[in-house]
Amino acid sequence: MAMNTSKNDSLISEEQQRYATWLSRGANSGLIILAVSFMAYVFGWLPARIPLDQLPKVWSLSTHEYIHQTGAPTGWHWLTMIEQGDFAGLLGIAWLSGCSLLCLLVIMPIYFKRKDWVFMLICIVALLVQLLAASGILTVGH
């Protein structure tokens, strides 16, 4: 007999359902931010730090040379230039990269309530790894 949705739902754990809900919210809002900020950039609604027609001269450079020549920011400094189209687009990218953080946070109370300390610890480590990556502490050069 084919299974109905509610039976199928019962196979999915509470934390998995919650994670899915928040992941969906994060991904959808991130894609909207990405699309809107990109339109603002290419249609000139926001000024660009590097004029679009100059990009072919610099996009073949290595990151190191690109930053050296254009003065583009590293780490989180792009946030201070958010009014410029080139960097407004990074907001959507940062949002998409960070939306898993929220998902991990919202499932931790479920593990805590269940006293599932191992998965609680795994979530904490996963959060720390993501935060470390996002922090900008880990910077290297060519």
Binding site: A20, A27, W59, C99, F119, A133, V140
Partner: protein, 326 residues
């Protein structure tokens, strides 16, 4: 009777149309690649929007073939765009990670809700792979681009060999779960709609699986590719998870692995929105069409075409890295 004949003719015509389209598409990609390669390096007179449009169209087609061939968009994106577009490999890898991340994020919620991705199976593997993807991204941005190109070429050719030879097992036999997977409760039940039944599963060889995921994460960060090509065989053939659970869980794992590597590229300034956004949008639209063409496209034909494309792109990356075909 007539209805059956007409329906059969319609199906055949649809199949022919779709496969002809696919053939043209593949040939266009080869031709575009060869043209772009000839017009390199850099001194192209094409304006920025021309390259953005070419990137969008390329990614749209890559998205179409990525779904039926069962490979992630990222693994196609990096060697093809890195080999045939004028962008530096740093920016291509940054965009490649975002392409893989956006695709995984878009699919993640429905995979989790449908039980095809399993959180308990994914999280321990994803934590290790995320940490190593950070290391991979840091190494990738620290070593010269030609070394990365050579390593990328070799890896892509390895993936081609893996894709051409690896077997898949719909429901691998796992006599008993090992101690570690039992302790972590890395098991579940998924509802297989094709058979209309619930299928319980568990995994074994967890320690080896965890170790391999460290390496997979490193490669994902190093080359800016999603790592579904490696995740699925490890989950399915080594650890013994059912094929659909392996594919779904692999995609979900990428949401964590690629995001940690993406942060490194972003913080290092290796993400250009003009490259990343058209790629993400093109790939997602293509994947949307590809998913709808699944019933008319012959998966084995698409797979062979993708293997040919990857072979071409892998050789191109290798030769470019060696300075033979610039």
């Amino acid at each position: 009777m007539f209805n059956e004949i007409f329906s059969s003719i319609r199906d055949t015509a649809g199949l022919l149309k779709a496969n002809t389209l696919l053939l043209l598409l593949t040939l266009s990609l080869f031709a575009a690649g060869a043209y772009a390669a000839e017009s390199l390096p850099v001194a192209s007179s094409m304006p920025w929007w021309g390259w953005s449009l070419a990137l969008f169209i390329t990614c749209f087609f890559l998205g179409i073939v990525a779904v039926p061939s069962g490979v992630g968009g990222g693994v196609l994106f990096v060697p093809i765009v890195g080999g045939f577009f004028p962008f530096h490999l740093d920016f291509v890898r940054g965009a490649g990670l975002l392409v893989a991340l956006a695709s995984a994020l878009a699919a993640g919620p429905s995979l989790l809700r449908g039980g095809l991705a399993n959180l308990r199976l994914a999280l321990p593997l994803a934590v290790l792979a995320s940490a190593s993807s950070i290391a991979g991204a840091m190494v990738g941005l620290a070593i010269p681009a030609n070394i990365v190109q050579i390593a990328l070429g070799v890896t892509i050719l390895g993936i081609v060999a893996l894709m051409a030879t690896a077997k898949k097992s719909e429901f691998p036999e796992v006599a008993a779960a090992d101690k570690l997977s039992s302790a972590l409760a890395m098991n579940g039940i998924f509802h297989d709609a094709a058979q209309s039944k619930n299928i319980p599963w568990h995994v074994h060889r967890t320690k080896l699986g965890l170790t391999l995921f460290v390496g997979i994460g490193f490669l994902a960060g190093l080359f800016g590719m999603g790592a579904g090509w490696a995740n699925v065989p490890v989950l399915n053939l080594l650890m013994g998870a059912p094929l659909k659970v392996s594919a779904g869980t692999s995609s979900f794992i990428l949401t964590l692995v690629d995001s940690s590597a993406a942060w490194i590229y972003l913080n290092k300034g290796a993400v250009l929105t003009i490259i990343a956004v058209p790629s993400v949008i093109g790939m997602m639209l293509g994947a949307f069409i590809g998913a709808r063409l699944l019933h008319v496209l012959k998966a084995s034909v698409v797979r062979k075409m993708v293997i040919s494309l990857l072979l071409f792109a892998g050789l191109r990356a290798l030769l470019k890295g060696l300075g033979i075909w610039l």
